[in-house]
């Protein structure tokens, strides 16, 4: 039962995270990634048996063999993996936040969708675009020379 509930929860977290990542908006990307990383952590958590109230800690180090024999505590390995994952995802989130902030101060507005920064048009690969670009280049060559000759102080 617990597994089924966990599965449904993880599924919903994945769906919500994916939806937010794909929407436009200033922080939706970060929120989406946050939901996603929670989902992934819970997914990892589900690989061990979910046991209520029995952490993987020996109460008495001297007599640990007795506890080991029953093996009634939670699986420590997924926990160790998740611990690493939490910390790393925080590092990435923090960096993303700073990066988005930086982009915002640089451009004054968001460019995420269909808009390319000026001067970066060549990033678009389409046959028509390339053809257009060639024409533009040819034109600008003509214009450029006229600009130089016209712009020079007489």
């Amino acid at each position: 039962m617990t597994q089924l509930i966990l599965a449904l929860t993880v599924g919903i977290l994945f769906a919500c995270g994916a939806y937010l990542v794909m929407r436009r908006g200033k922080i939706k990307l970060i929120l989406g990634l946050g939901l996603f990383s929670h989902g992934v952590n819970l997914l990892l958590f589900g690989s061990g048996e979910m046991i209520l109230g029995k952490p993987a800690i020996f109460n008495d180090k001297a007599n640990f063999l007795g506890e080991l024999a029953t093996r009634s505590f939670a699986d420590p390995l997924p926990q160790a993996l998740i611990l690493t994952a939490i910390v790393i995802s925080f590092g990435i989130t923090a960096f993303m936040i700073v990066l988005l902030n930086r982009r915002d101060t640089l451009l004054g507005s968001e460019i995420m969708e269909n808009e390319l920064a000026p001067g970066y048009d060549w990033l678009v690969y389409t046959d028509d675009d390339l053809e257009e670009q060639r024409q533009k280049q040819a034109e600008s060559k003509g214009n450029g020379s006229s600009k130089i000759s016209g712009g020079e102080p007489l």
Binding site: M1, Q3, L4, I5, L6, A7, L8, V10, G11, I12, L13, A15, C16, A18, Y19, L20, V21, M22, R24, K26, I27, L29, L31, L35, F45, G46, S47, G48, M50, I51, A56, I57, F58, F64, L68, A74, D75, L77, A80, I86, V87, I88, G91, T93, A94, I97, V98, L100, N101, R102, L106, E110, E113, N114, L116, G119, Y120, L123, Y125, T126
Partner: protein, 796 residues
């Protein structure tokens, strides 16, 4: 020894490059030494090889893969080895004069000598994989040599086509060679050749077809022949050496090498006969229509390669001897003729036959070399070329006599037609360039730069060797017989002679010469006919179109997969993740994965936490304001923390809580003040797409958890058992999670800390970066005028 030779060639290439040979004639002469010494060494080996003592060498490279560097000097290897090293010595000298005073001469030497080493390795190799490595080596060095004049678009196109065609063929051949090696159980060529039962192997036909593809691409057989004329944009020494005397014969060499093991089946026979025959005829046919001397010689080479391919279809003594003599004769007349074409180009400034005339008188030594070469190319008696052609016709005649009428007549008739065409274009070349008094074109070219003796020496020596050869057939048998024996795997004792009496073969030969002369006289009509052929059937144009189609396909796929929006990229990544999950589901069913629910009660803290999580996640998605979205995310985080608390993970709960608070603070600090997004919402269709992809992602997450917790996947316990058992004895810690992190997997934690440090450094750098205008190229372009104005005011 042999490997040492290859290394010495490579090293001398580098030395030549360093010595800047373009203004030091002595170095041009010194460059003859390495290939010359290798030639002499091989000549000294001939008697031993003729006696059946083959020189072998073997180094283990990767024994587990059957990969050795092994060489074996048998008759065939020494025949090709002599051609490669001998012609190579001549070409090395010639290069110095051809690339007179060009600073890039040293680079050409480096590429040339690297090629020579690859080609020698190829013909000496006794291991299929060794052979393949050297084979690819020749493709690459050939690319460098064709593209030597890389400022010219023609050279670049020619080089690219040659590399693509021979490279693709080489890869096909690799598969064929591996299949062959696997079915023979050995990659050693001498063992494969000696093995029985290869023809009955299940992989036989696939392997043979793939090896054909490799050989046909390399040796410019129809329909891959177009790259060879395109490769003529190489400097003439490279054309003479690679694209006439040596590299294009690598395919022939491979077929000859594999002949004992693979021949004598219908696939082998008809495959080689048909493709070789077509190549022979179209090559000879198109050669007549060319005005460029090099183009004419290139098509003639294609035709000759077709003849050699066709001959290898047979196993008879005549055919094998004809192939061996043909290879030798071709190297000794076509190589020098190319060199002569280069001298003519150098002396007059053109290779256009319509502008040339009477060069025999103007440059007599070059003319002598040319005349001797052309007579052999035409197959007029008593030359080496004549002998090769006689053997070819003899083979056809013998087949007819043995009742194999169809194949026999195909060879006999095709050989006779090709013979006539050979005569026609040879006479055209001889008459128009060297004999006639006046050129066709009004702007006739004149010799303004007569060649020095060193320039003419190489073609002259080679062509004199070729002329003398038919009169020295006795000693030559020492070279020819072992080579023929290696091809047919039966001991062959040739009794070659120029004169066989008045046989039907000789009469046919004479008729071919006669009709060739008639064709020569009527060549004007012939050239007009060839010029009127539709242009869009040319192989290189079709290839170009195919390439362009490939490029545009690539662009289309790129545009489809990367639509330069974040949503598009994310959608592609997520949908790709669906594929393996669906594939895994096809092995089991979802009902098997679902846990048994009978008798379970819906209680417990997990129900409440799950509900809370779902509601908070939904609130994050639907939040109207940025602040409420951030807070909802915080709620999700805290609920997950609770989850960890209940399910025995106190360390996780602690970490998660701390991180959650930090993230929340950062988000609020940075994003609270930023202005709102002013862009229009996404379109309906796009939104529907996003919802669909999100749904898929959700299903993936759901199924993954079920897979992860199913009985079959319970692989994790095996690993964690080690950690629980050894946490106290080895790690001396009671908290197993902590021990794993700081002890057992300490390096992972180290990596994790590194990631944090890098993120912190990056964030710090971004926050401290100077004002936008100075750094960002994209803004610089947009605000150029502004920046300029500012600079001006600054200056003022």
């Amino acid at each position: 020894m042999l490997l040492g030779f290859l290394a010495s060639l490579f090293i001398s290439g580098i030395l030549l490059w360093w010595s800047r040979p373009h203004n030091k004639p002595i170095i041009g002469w010194l460059s003859v030494l390495p290939p010359g010494l290798i030639t002499v060494w091989q000549v000294l080996r001939i008697p031993e090889i003729a006696a059946g003592n083959f020189y072998t060498e073997r180094w283990e490279w990767m024994p587990s893969l059957g990969l050795d560097v092994s060489f074996r000097l048998d008759g065939l290897a020494v025949l090709f080895g002599l051609i490669v090293a001998g012609v190579g010595a001549g070409v090395a000298l010639y290069t110095h004069y051809y690339l007179e005073k060009k600073p890039s001469q040293g680079y050409f030497y480096l590429a040339l000598f690297s090629f020579m080493a690859s080609m020698l390795g190829l013909v000496w190799a006794d291991n299929l994989l060794t052979l393949f490595v050297f084979w690819e080596g020749t493709s690459i060095t050939s690319y460098l040599l064709i593209g030597f004049d890389h400022e010219k678009a023609q050279a670049r196109t020619g080089a690219r086509n040659a590399l693509l065609v021979t490279g693709a063929g080489g890869l096909a051949m690799l598969v064929g060679l591996v299949l062959l090696g696997q079915s023979a159980g050995s990659y050693s060529i001498s063992q494969i050749v000696a093995a029985d039962g290869l023809r009955e192997s299940a992989y036989y036909s696939v392997a043979v077809v793939l090896i054909f593809v490799g050989a046909f691409t390399k040796s410019a057989q129809f329909p891959f022949h177009f790259w060879l004329p395109g490769a003529m944009s190489a400097p003439t020494p490279a054309s003479a050496y690679l694209h006439s005397a040596t590299m294009v014969k690598a395919g022939i060499f491979l077929l000859a090498r594999m002949h004992p093991a693979l021949s004598d089946t219908p696939l082998w026979f008809w495959g080689l006969l048909i493709f070789g025959g077509i190549t022979m005829l179209i090559g000879a046919f198109f050669a007549i229509g060319k005005y460029d001397i090099k183009a004419l010689l290139a098509y003639a080479t294609v035709s000759q390669l077709g003849i050699l391919t066709m001959l290898l279809a047979f196993g008879s003594e005549y055919a094998v001897l004809a192939a061996v003599v043909g290879v030798l004769a071709h190297a000794l007349y076509k190589g020098p003729l190319f060199l002569v074409a280069g001298i003519v180009d150098h002396a007059t400034g053109t290779r256009d036959m319509s502008r040339l005339a009477g060069l025999l008188r103007a440059i007599p030594l070059t003319g002598l070399a040319a005349v001797l070469g052309i007579v052999s190319m035409a197959g007029l008696p008593p030359t080496f070329g004549f002998l090769a052609k006689e053997l070819l016709l003899e083979n056809g005649w013998e087949m007819i006599g043995h009742g194999e009428t169809l194949a026999g007549w195909l060879v006999f008739g095709g050989g006779a037609i090709a013979g006539a065409l050979f005569v026609a274009y040879s006479l055209t070349l001889l008459w128009e360039v060297f004999l006639r008094r006046k050129a066709d074109a009004t702007d006739a070219a004149h010799v303004h730069h007569p060649p020095s003796f060193g320039f003419v020496l190489a073609p002259l020596v080679l062509v004199l060797l070729g002329t003398a050869a038919p009169f020295l057939l006795g000693p030559l048998a020492l070279l020819i017989d072992p080579a023929a024996t290696a091809i047919s795997n039966e001991t062959i004792h040739s009794h070659l002679a120029l004169w066989h009496g008045f046989t039907p073969v000789l009469i046919t030969s004479l008729i071919a010469i006669g009709s060739g002369t008639l064709l020569f006289l009527g060549r004007a009509h012939f050239r007009r006919l060839l010029a009127s052929l539709p242009k869009n059937l040319q192989g290189d144009l079709l290839f170009e179109q195919g390439l362009r189609g490939l490029y545009s396909l690539a662009r289309r796929t790129t545009r489809l997969v990367q639509d330069h929006t974040l949503a598009g990229h994310a959608a592609v990544v997520l949908l790709v993740a669906v594929v393996p999950v669906v594939a895994a589901l096809s092995y089991t069913s979802i009902s098997e994965l679902l846990p048994d629910l009978t008798g379970e009660v819906l209680t417990g803290p997990e129900m409440i936490m799950a509900l809370l999580l779902v509601i908070a996640a939904w609130a994050t998605v639907r939040a109207k304001s940025r602040m409420s979205a951030i807070i909802s995310l915080g709620v999700v985080g805290v609920t997950v923390t609770l989850f960890y608390v209940f399910f025995s993970a106190p360390d996780l709960a602690l970490t998660q809580l701390l991180i959650e608070v930090l993230t929340l603070v950062l988000l609020v600090l940075v994003f609270y003040k930023l202005p709102d997004d002013k862009r229009p919402p996404q379109g309906r269709l796009r939104q529907a797409g996003i919802v669909f992809v999100s749904f898929c992602a959700g299903v993936v997450g759901f199924v993954l958890v079920l897979f992860n917790s199913s009985e079959a996947m319970n692989a994790g316990t095996a690993i964690s058992g080690y950690f629980t058992d050894n946490s106290v004895p080895l790690g001396h810690g009671a908290n197993i999670v902590n021990v794993i992190l700081v002890d057992f997997r300490a390096f992972d934690t180290m990596g994790e800390i590194t990631v944090l440090a890098v993120a912190a450094l990056g964030g710090y750098a971004l926050l401290r970066a100077p004002a936008a205008r100075l750094l960002s190229p994209l803004l610089n372009e947009a605000n150029t005028t502004e920046a300029e104005e500012m600079e001006e005011t600054d200056r003022a």
